[in-house]
Structure formats: C-alpha cells, structure tokens
Amino acid sequence: MNIYINGTGCISPQETAQIGPLFSTLKEYDQVRLQAVDPDYKQWIDLKQIRRMSRVVKMGVGAANLSMEEAGIKMPDAIITGTAYGCLDDTGVFLNKMVSQEEQMLTPTAFIQSTHNTVGGQIALLLGCNAYNNTFVHRGFSFENSLLDATMILREGEAKTVLAGGLDEITHYSYQVLSRFGLYKKAPVKTMELLKSPDRGTIAGEGAAFFVLSPEKGTHTVAELAGVCTIYKPLWEGEVIGEIVKFLEAQDLTLEDIDLLVTGRNGDIAQDEIYEEVAAALFPDHPEACFKHLCGEYPTAMAFGAWMANRIIAEQDVPEAAMFYGQAPARIKNVLIYNHHQGTHHALILLKAC
C-alpha cells in the first residue's frame, strides 16, 4: 500500500507558514538560538482559547491546520504527534509556581498545559475529533515513531486519513541547560555559514511540522512516504551505511535511484563527521541539501527536513539556501533524508514523487 502525503504544514524559524516558493523570503540569523516565526494564530484559534496556549501548542495547532487546509480535509481519522520536550514552557511555569507558592494554591492552567500530549489534545479539542490520539515521546525518534504509527494504522485499514507531526520548542531554561551540555556554539554564527563552521556545537531551534497521510491521493499530493527507518546508537558509521543500503533495497531502489540526499548536518564538526563518511561511501556524486542551518537543532527537526523535502519535490527545485553540494537534477523523484540527533538517534525517511 502506498501512503501519500496529501498536505503539509510547518511553523519554524523560517517564513514557512506563508504561501510562496520555498524560502523565497529567507530569514538569516546571526545568533545561537532560533525562534519560530509566529503567524497570526487567531486565524485558527479563538481568542478565548489562545490565551491558555503556550508557543509550542500554538505552533502545533497552526501547523496541523495548515496541513489539513492543504489536504482539503476538516477531520482526520487519527491524530499522532511526536515531541521530545513537550510543553516545556508551561512545565517550567508550573514547577516555578510549585516552588514559589510552596505547593499551595496552584492554578490548573499551567498544569493542564504542561503535559506532552497537550498539543495532540488541543488539536482534537478544536476539531471536535474523538478518534485515535497518540503522542510519542521518544527523544530523537519522537517524530519518526509518530510516522511509523501512522503508516501502521493506515496499512491496517483503521484509518483513511492520519494527521501526524513532530514539534518541539526551545525555552529560556532549556536553552541554558542544554548550553551547559555543550550542545550549542559559544558565539553567534551566521546561519548561512553554520555548515562550514570549524568547531563544536550547533544552533538551537524549534518548530512544528504536520503531515496529512492517506492511502488515497489528494488534489495537492506530490509525494509518497515510501519508508521510515530508525537506527539507535550505531556502533560505527559502517552500521549506518549498511542500514541505508538495506533500507533502499527494501524499497526496490539502488543508490543510483536517489536523486537528492537531504542530511541533518548541523555545523558541529564532531556530529557532521558521519554525514561526510556516509556521503563519501554511498553518495559521492549525489547532490546534497541540508536543513538544520534553517531551523536549528532540536529532537524533532527531522519533521522540518521531511516538510522541506516534500516542498522540494513539489517545486522540483532545491533553493540555493538549502543546497549543500552539487546540483539537483532536472527531475527530482526519490529523496532520501538522513538525520541523526546527538549521534544516538539516526533515522532515514524516503520520499518518492508521484
């Protein structure tokens, strides 16, 4: 069974909620922490409800709405979200109130909004959708596992249309904590120079991307989700290389069939090493595009990468801002996305033009 991407929606540090060619209004940053560009959320959310929503909830609801608008559906048969950090900001608010108010007189809103499945719940509440609703909180595999769940539900025939997506936010506190782990650059770096920076660390990012998946093609369908694969803590690069070959074989493809490689290079020399090795071993002459200099690093950044790959197939063109190596062919049919988060969570997604 083929699973088609009938609609996509993305809210990110780029102007991805706007209609128009991909990255036509490129946002260039000279900082270590990228924040999502907020569209006018009031177009989707009533003012009385918006006041209780933190940024990540609004991002999720906005991206979900964009994808359903593109797919031309009003109600999915299932809602599946993937998030590593969940509603971090409201978790912080709630915990701070617990401390400052000595665990007395805690207000309900921050608690209600602090759970990981708040976004999936809010989307369902706004739609009045009582169907299957699940949230995957699996660090760097959260988004990939939401896609796997969606494909299984569709293949089992339990749903005809699934809304699946990945989202995470960066907050003041999480940025500070993750900075102490050495994840980020010590000094601001221009986003368009990030992938050539010669030192450790990357830039922090956030965003939400949703996909309407179905076994039936829609009006705006340009690609199918041909495969998803996760590789946890590979012992060495050879394991990843072997998994890529097996993954493509399972799709009846060879390395030569891949028209574009999209990688999750993030400008950290240690973390980008494996992309170099994989590209050198399997795709030495293939064109390569990247996305994390545009959205920043976060555990569900793969959702942005998949959204971008789908748009590249739609436009049959790779914007200059995303191109890392080579030149895209005139016909872009098979796009392989290879990403890893923190060197432990490696994932592959294959999109095929249809």
Partner: protein
C-alpha cells in the same frame, strides 16, 4: 468598593491571561461566565485561587460559586463582606 472592583479587573486579566482585554472593557455588572467575558470552568478554578492569593479568602460552600462569581460587583461584595467578618 469602586477601587476594589478596579483592582479585581486588573487581577482577573492578569490571572486569566485575557489578551486584548482592558479593565475598562469589563462592566461591573457584566456576567463573567458564558455571555460577557465568556469564562469557563477552568477559569472558575483560577478565580478561586485568585481570591485565596490576593484576599486570603476561601470559599467554604462551593454552591455559592455561581452567585459570587456572577460579576465583578458580586465578587467585590463577597470580598467586602468576608473582610468585615474577618476584621
């Protein structure tokens, strides 16, 4: 009473994060729930906490809730009565 009603409006706007609502937009006798401000059951819990935090008043009988939280004026009247009792 007038000063208390103005304070309540500001406190409600802050506690409930009522974006784009100003104190002067809230009428003293306007219903807080359903029509008027359109508050809901979660807001009711927030208002109970507000009374405890700002005025050290606990509502002993939950059935009084709809009467107390009907409007800014009824809230202010309840607070005033409770403060007199405590004095």
């Amino acid at each position: 009473m007038e000063k208390l009603m103005e304070d309540l409006k500001s406190q409600i706007i802050e506690q409930l994060n009522l974006q784009e609502v100003k104190p002067e937009d809230i009428g003293n006798d306007e219903p807080l729930f359903k029509t008027g401000l359109g508050l809901d059951s979660i807001d009711a819990l927030e208002l109970i906490v507000l009374l405890q935090q700002h005025y050290n008043i606990r509502i002993a009988n939950p059935e009084q809730g709809p009467e107390i939280f009907h409007s800014i004026r009824t809230m202010a009247a309840f607070i005033t009565a409770q403060q007199k009792q405590q004095a």
